[in-house]
């Protein structure tokens, strides 16, 4: 185990912790931006430090293709290669194959896929995934799991869950740098509470440095989503970090943190920036919209980032989707927003005002009081009273309730 996880504060299930990794001491809850190919699109590493990024994610599949894990290893690991002094996490590569390649096929041996380089069939085994990740050298590496879409039902879900458990042992056995890199196991089991339970127990028995909740954020209903998170966080050990994979909407992060999750990753903040959308406390601001052309306010008047301090919506409007600088500036703001959200979650838990923070957050996002029902349900389980934000029920909600 190459990490320390100290809980500094709690509110019911929510926790704020210090997660000490080989390259950085992080504060949770935290959001990890995705730097697929060894760079966060359009941002330099010292900007990422300035924004407050603690861990960034690299995609094993892409890095293994270019520049290859052997080259990264030869040049001293990914930290050195991209000159990022803080923490890194790599995924197993399996998810990318299944989602990007039509011809990926999963068998007991591993994930078979058609090489995008020469079209030949290739096999990614759990051993190989770990070997590649050992070469890349991230602080946290992920076990290869059998990924199935959450919307799939039937015996395939069960098969994938059991296979994930069998593969974790192969991953553990293959892991050559356990004192420098932390192998996280991934809880699978679809939306079936029984299967999720078996998977959590199986992984916890292996006493891993941390655990991820996988197979979510893939089109399931929000109600199913939070229930799986709530079930897993309740069953996972208190003293280990919990990472909900692929989650990146601010609202989802607040809900999952209330339920006791610690880490999140998603391409959303940077991808949506490239399409001209800014994250703001009220939700999103579409800067391409004509109304922005003469709006002389900053993107978010309450934001202290370099972009909001200097630029108007009108100026960003004339840059977005046309000039490189538009996506650079919006990505900067959006990541700043996500880092501020992470810090606010952390400090409000420590300062024992987490419920107040959640209420303020929900009030800004739902000024009409129309907080979605799944959020209300999740908050009830999290033991957070949000009745003050749900006061003014709008006409639309009344219609839906009837």
């Amino acid at each position: 185990m190459a990490l320390r996880f100290e809980i500094l504060g709690r509110f019911n299930r929510a926790r704020a912790a210090q997660l000490t990794l080989p390259h950085f001491g992080c504060q949770t809850p935290l959001f990890m931006p995705v730097g697929t190919q060894g760079t966060i699109k359009g941002l330099a590493t010292n900007q990422l430090e300035e924004i407050g990024c603690q861990i960034i994610l690299g995609n094993t599949y892409h890095l293994a293709l270019r520049p290859t894990s052997e080259l990264i290893d030869e040049l001293g690991g990914l930290h050195k290669f991209m000159n990022w002094p803080r923490a890194l996490l790599t995924d197993s590569g399996g998810f990318q194959m299944v989602s990007l390649l039509h011809l990926a096929d999963i068998t007991e041996k591993g994930v078979t896929f058609q090489s995008p380089v020469d079209g030949k069939p290739m096999l990614l085994t759990p051993e190989e995934s770990i070997q590649i990740q050992n070469r890349i050298g991230a602080d946290i590496i992920m076990a290869l799991d059998d990924v199935v879409k959450t919307t799939i039902t039937g015996p395939r879900i069960e098969e994938a869950m059991y296979r994930t458990l069998r593969w974790i042992d192969r991953c553990i056995a293959a892991h050559k740098r356990p004192h420098e890199q932390n192998l996280f196991g991934i809880v699978q089991g679809g939306l079936d509470p029984v299967l999720r339970d078996i998977c959590v127990r199986g992984l916890v028995e292996r006493n891993l440095p941390g655990y991820a909740i996988g197979g979510l954020a893939g089109g399931e209903s929000k109600d199913s989503f939070w229930r799986v998170v709530a079930q897993c966080t309740a069953a996972l050990p208190e003293d280990k970090p919990r990472y909900v994979m692929g989650v990146g909407y601010p609202l989802d992060i607040v809900v999952c943190s209330a339920l006791g999750a610690d880490m999140y990753d998603c391409v959303y903040p940077t991808r949506t920036a490239r399409f001209g959308t800014a994250l703001v406390p009220e939700g999103v601001l579409k800067l391409k919209h004509k109304a922005m052309a003469d709006d002389t306010r900053p993107i978010d008047p309450t934001c202290a980032c370099m972009v909001c301090k200097n630029y108007t919506r009108a100026y960003i409007h004339c840059l977005v989707t046309k000039d490189a600088m538009g996506s650079q500036l919006l990505s900067y703001h959006n990541l700043y927003y996500m880092m501020k959200l992470s810090r606010d979650l952390h400090t409000s838990i420590i300062q024992e005002r987490f419920p107040e923070f959640v209420c303020e957050f929900l009030q800004k996002m739902f000024p009409e009081g129309n907080v979605p029902e799944w959020v209300c349900n999740a908050m009830e389980v999290a033991g957070i009273d949000i009745s003050c934000c749900c006061g003014k029920t709008s006409g639309i909600d009344l219609l839906l309730l009837q």
Binding site: K41, A44, D294
Partner: protein, 398 residues
């Protein structure tokens, strides 16, 4: 605006000091104006601008036509003009109609009412009154009057017309000019020495703070350029600064300096950056630095390297070991090669930072040479050094 020439070399080359706006300290010339897209560098994020050499990097060229897309002059005025809109309060912003990259003069569609440009939003015809409306809302520190620029291959008659129009528009622009902002009178004349002189004479007779020399980089040869440049600069008042558009390569800049040009645009950096090139020519003493130059590196020459080349795939060294720019202090050639291979924007950010830094260093070396009276020697050394190294490279490849 204050400008003073401090040193002369060989009768024409000169070094001076330019004081404008809220720039932290006077800017020495010859100097480079950084090209921008809508006021900010193409890729260098604004929070990185302070890491470039100062005050050298505090001159930015802005193309008013960029703002015809998406922003009204009224909104720009409401924001408070360019400096406020860009968050660049202590920068000198120079507005010039043509950006030489995406906004190019289109002489066939230019007519007596206005100048035509090819732009990313199609062909645009802009009248002096519209141009001045933009200038009034942008409030740049200095601006060039609207010009009718023509390439070298137009008829003598068309070239004469371009001079007539440019002078008429100069008067119109000055009549409409807002308070504040130094006016640089546009000079054209194509490849005709007589027309160049005529235009320069007319402009020199007007109430302008400086001169903007257009119509270069539009088809004239390197060999015919010195005579054309000299015809212009010999006609102009010595005490006013001269800004030129369209000379980019190091050799071209040296030609311009030799003719007495003070300010240059930096289109060259943009093209290098997009092509994956990094400038590597030595700046101190211009000695040959063979280790920086790889023969197998396609497209490179002794002044620059192509970071797309596979020789850099595993190269753990910075572009230039002694370079103090952010890129060289933080990243390797191998990393930039990877970023180029996977089409990541950070490649362009890092290359634009290094190339800008390096080219500003080149201008610093030019100023030092002019000030010490060695400009001609410096220029010869640079050109010969480059020729020799090209020959060495060609021999090695044969």
């Amino acid at each position: 605006m204050k400008f003073a020439v401090k040193a002369w070399n060989n009768g024409r080359a000169r070094s001076g000091v330019l004081q404008l706006g809220r720039c932290p300290s006077p800017i020495e010339t010859p100097s480079l104006l950084l090209s921008t897209r809508k006021g900010l560098p193409f890729f260098i994020p604004p929070d990185f601008l302070p890491s470039l050499p100062s005050p050298d990097s505090h001159l930015l060229q802005v193309c008013p036509l960029h703002f015809l897309e998406g922003l009204s002059p009224k909104t720009i005025s409401n924001i408070g003009g360019l400096h406020q809109m860009l968050g660049l309060h202590d920068y000198v912003l120079a507005a010039v109609g043509r950006d030489s990259i995406q906004c190019l003069p289109e002489c066939n569609s230019t007519n007596k009412i206005g100048a035509s440009f090819e732009t990313p939003c199609g062909r645009l015809l802009i009248k002096p009154v519209e141009y001045m409306e933009l200038i009034s809302s942008l409030r740049p520190n200095l601006w060039a009057t609207l010009a009718d620029e023509v390439p070298t291959w137009v008829s003598e008659k068309r070239n004469k017309t371009s001079v007539d129009r440019t002078i008429r528009w100069l008067d119109e622009c000055i009549a409409l000019s807002p308070a504040g902002g130094a006016v640089f009178g546009a000079i054209v004349g194509g490849s005709s020495i007589e027309e160049r002189q005529r235009c320069a004479q007319e402009v020199a007779g007007r109430n302008v703070s400086g001169y903007w020399i257009g119509g270069f980089g539009l088809g004239e040869s390197m060999d015919e350029r010195p005579a054309l440049l000299n015809a212009v600069t010999d006609t102009l008042a010595e005490e006013k600064p001269r800004l030129i558009c369209g000379l980019g390569l190091p050799e071209e800049v040296l030609q311009g300096v030799a003719a007495g040009i003070d300010l240059f645009d930096s289109v060259y950096i943009y093209h290098l950056t997009l092509g994956g090139f990094a400038l590597t020519f030595p700046l101190d003493g211009l000695d040959v630095n063979e280790s920086d130059f790889q023969q197998s590196d396609f497209g490179s020459d002794p002044t620059k390297i192509n970071l797309r080349a596979t020789v850099y795939r595993k190269d753990p060294s910075p572009i230039i070991k002694s370079c103090s720019c952010y890129t060289c202090q933080n990243h390797t050639k191998a990393y930039i090669n990877h970023l180029l291979n996977v089409h990541e924007m950070l490649a362009q950010i890092l290359l634009e930072i290094h190339n800008t830094h390096h080219y500003l260093g080149f201008f610093r070396a030019i100023r030092a040479a002019v000030k010490s009276g060695n400009f001609e020697q410096f220029r010869q050394q640079f050109i010969e050094g480059r020729r020799d190294r090209l020959a060495v490279a060609a021999a090695a490849q044969a």
